[in-house]
Symmetry: C2
Subunit: 136 residues, 2 copies
């Protein structure tokens, strides 16, 4: 994640303290924070950072393909920094915990032509649901 800012600077991004803090908050594995959580953590380091800036920065990171948007519960969207390794999600139905998982096989191949209704299908998103060890 440290070279993320360099990559963005190379694309003409102005590197500000706000953007740096948002990028730092989104570092790590199995990170799936809501915009509000990102804002709360960013505000610990930069108390005056505004909600609008967090939303803007997250939106930019998503358009640039550096962060994925995940909505597993129909409530707040979550932001997943693990955008460069394809993966799916495993969600606990009780507590909402999310893990990145790597299924075998290619679900795109499982959709026969006669089930495509003329669509040009380009993506598949798989969400596994169950109960995590702590909630069992």
């Amino acid at each position: 994640m440290s070279d993320l800012l360099e990559r963005l600077r190379g694309r003409g991004w102005r590197v500000t303290s706000q953007r740096r803090v948002v990028a730092e908050v989104l570092d790590g594995d199995h990170v799936h924070l809501t915009a509000d959580e990102v804002h709360a953590r960013a505000a610990q380091r930069l108390p005056e950072i505004s909600r609008a800036t967090v939303y803007n920065t997250l939106g930019e990171l998503v358009s640039l393909g550096e962060v994925l948007e995940v909505s597993t519960d129909g409530r707040a969207k979550r932001y997943d920094p693990n955008a460069h390794r394809p993966h799916q999600h495993l969600v606990c139905s009780r507590c909402g915990t999310i893990r990145d998982v790597h299924p075998t096989g290619n679900p795109l191949a499982d959709l026969p032509a006669e089930e495509r209704f003329g669509f040009t299908v380009s993506e598949v998103e798989v969400t596994y649901r169950g109960v995590c060890p702590s909630c069992t």
Copy 2:
């Protein structure tokens, strides 16, 4: 869908005109209405029906397993009356149209034990995304 009301009455549901209208609106194939759309259509037949009642009724139908909740876009949830035949969804990224589809294979089997992190996995949700014929 006509026996739905009978089934619900058998479970102790009080059948009111509001619940009947909501159930009727949700009849058909490839129906994926938002709560607001359900309310608008219900109000054509029963002008005084309230938003709260529509939300309550939809929530009850979901808990009873008669209707599925689908959130494909992170915005309003959609309600799918086709709850008794397992299926997945194909969504147009441009216009948002949703089709029910039936992939081959069993995605649950594609998640190896070492990728389950101790979860008891019980469900999979697959969303295919692409561009529909009208938007091409």
